[in-house]
């Protein structure tokens, strides 16, 4: 058994001696992931990262006790072999899904398909309009300030520094905080703290009412 493998086996024993969800269990799982990640199977499939993420979740759930599958059995295989077997099954799933999508999706007969690369469905989505309406909406709302709440919400003792002013200044392309602080002669932290605590909630409420979320 290699030195690394021995370290990993010890960490596994240590991890499993603590209950699921405990700080010590999580800490040891993290250490094991860091140590063995380089040894897992790699390939260039577009769904590889998803398969790998599923593999890590499977590892954390089933290393010590069978939660979503069979628990890891160190007598049968070392942990890397165990995980690679799972990872390859997930990669197979990914491959099958792509084949199914191809079978049910009509692609234009362009060069990309004959290259063997599937088209990225995102590429075929309609391009978003040039100017996203969000910016114009927020700007119009902040300028109009129909109920006066934006102009009425200000830094204590600084009636000129209002949410209306800051929101308009922070609309992209935004004035940097440092520049604003210098202009308004207050500290950056005073400005940003006020913006976070007082103006962001108003912006979020606007977004909610407008159905942006």
């Amino acid at each position: 058994m290699s030195e690394l493998q021995e370290t990993v086996e010890n960490l596994i024993a240590e991890a499993c001696s603590h209950p699921p969800g405990s700080l010590k269990r999580q800490t040891h799982l993290t250490q094991i992931i860091r140590l063995i990640s380089n040894q897992l199977w790699r390939d260039q499939a577009p769904y590889y990262q998803d398969a790998l993420q599923q593999t890590w979740v499977y590892f954390c759930r089933n290393l010590c006790e069978a939660t979503t599958g069979f628990a890891y059995d160190p007598d049968k295989a070392n942990v890397v072999t165990w995980l690679n077997a799972y990872l390859k099954r997930r990669l197979q799933d990914g491959y099958i899904n792509i084949q199914r999508q191809r079978a049910t999706t009509a692609y234009p007969s362009t060069a990309s398909e004959s290259d063997g690369k599937p088209l990225d469905p995102i590429d075929s989505l309609a391009a978003p309009p040039d100017i996203p309406p969000l910016l114009a909406d927020v700007q119009a709302w902040a300028e109009a300030d129909a109920d006066g709440i934006l102009a009425g919400t200000h830094i204590k003792g600084q009636p000129q520094i209002t949410c209306q002013l800051l929101i308009l200044k922070r609309l992209p392309p935004e004035t940097p905080w440092k520049e604003l602080a210098a202009q308004l002669e207050v500290s950056v932290s005073t400005l940003s703290s006020f913006y976070q605590r007082q103006c962001i909630p108003l912006l979020k409420e606007f977004g909610r009412v407008q159905g942006y979320l």
Partner: protein
């Protein structure tokens, strides 16, 4: 990524899923400028990677309750937060391969339980959690000065209640862990301490304290402050936080429940104002002769209040300094409930 790993031996690799890339692309395309688009894309990937790590560890995180998920806050702030329900918001700052410094924008200098720095691969397929720091200042973070990602786990566990006493507060019990009011200022609350509106009726909420003088609009403070015993004008940006907890006198006394409300206000000085109220639950009035007392560490009564025949609430207000401890005692018919607080 091998170079990155050898340079940062504490890094934890996290795959970036297709869903993460798709969402990041979608959020980015809604932004009005190229700079904002790139910022939102990287922020989203960092948040997703941290969410993926939480998923592995079995830690609940809620993307959709985070400002980083909201198109309005994406555009109006530089935000990469991930909400851990009941604990607070974790900021997940992205950096790109080859960078040793992580700038933290003023937008996220506070209201966070901590900061994790996430390196995003050039091809947007892998992320590495590089390290953690519980707080930030005005200077940029140097990656080699960060604590390893395991410290993030410690931080999260430090915010979790040690036991469930506080969720099923029976009479006569003493919660073993003190409620850390200092953490409330970072929006992290012990289990059982809920948003006031979830426990109290709007009429009851309107009776809650306001330490403020009232000339600054405050979105979560009622317009009809009952009692403003605070003194003088307040310094810039005082923080007001309040939470409520259901106290069940159940077993011993039939079905009596009351709601304890705690409001704290921290001024820029070390002084913390504290307001305590007890409201009835499901009844118009409190049971008569219910005592609310604040005890010093020696268990001597520092101040107390007692309900009469038809009181709809009782309250106490006092101030203290950071780090001070006190206990709150509720007593009815000889049965008592105690809860310890640290400021």
């Amino acid at each position: 990524m091998t170079t990155q790993l050898t340079r940062y031996p504490q890094a934890v690799p996290i795959p970036i899923t297709e869903q993460a890339r798709t969402m990041a692309q979608q959020f980015a395309s809604a932004q009005p400028t190229a700079i904002k688009s790139e910022q939102v894309q990287l922020n989203t990937l960092a948040v997703f990677a941290t969410h993926g790590y939480c998923q592995m560890m079995g830690i609940v995180s809620d993307l959709e309750q985070s400002d980083s998920w909201n198109p309005v806050t994406q555009m109006m702030t530089d935000v990469a937060d991930l909400t851990l329900p009941g604990l607070g918001r974790l900021e997940c700052r992205p950096i790109q391969t080859g960078t040793n410094i992580c700038e933290v924008p003023p937008d996220v200098w506070d209201l966070r339980i901590g900061y994790v720095v996430v390196c995003i691969d050039e091809n947007l397929k892998m992320a590495h959690l590089l390290g953690f720091t519980p707080t930030v200042g005005e200077t940029a973070l140097t990656i080699s000065d960060l604590q390893p990602p395991e410290i993030l786990l410690q931080r999260i566990h430090g915010l979790m209640p040690l036991n469930d006493v506080s969720t099923s507060s029976g009479m006569g019990q003493i919660a073993e862990t003190a409620v850390k009011l200092g953490q409330w200022l970072n929006q992290s609350f012990e289990a059982g301490w809920l948003a006031v509106e979830t426990l109290l009726s709007p009429e009851q909420v309107s009776l809650a304290f306001s330490f403020r003088n009232g000339d600054e609009t405050e979105t979560d403070t009622p317009d009809t402050p009952l009692d403003t015993s605070s003194d003088g004008p307040l310094a810039d940006g005082p923080i007001d936080v309040r939470r409520a907890k259901l106290i069940d006198f159940g077993l011993q006394l039939g079905d009596v429940q009351v709601i304890m409300l705690v409001e704290i206000q921290s001024e820029s000085s070390e002084a913390i104002n504290i307001g305590l109220q007890v409201h009835p639950q499901g009844q118009p009035y409190l049971p008569p002769d219910l005592e609310l007392a604040v005890l010093e560490t020696s268990d001597t009564v520092f101040m107390d209040a007692r309900s009469r025949q038809a009181d709809n609430y009782i309250q106490l207000q006092f101030s203290g300094r950071a780090g001070e401890r006190f206990r709150v005692r509720l007593q009815l018919d000889g049965v008592q409930y105690l809860e310890e607080f640290v400021m």
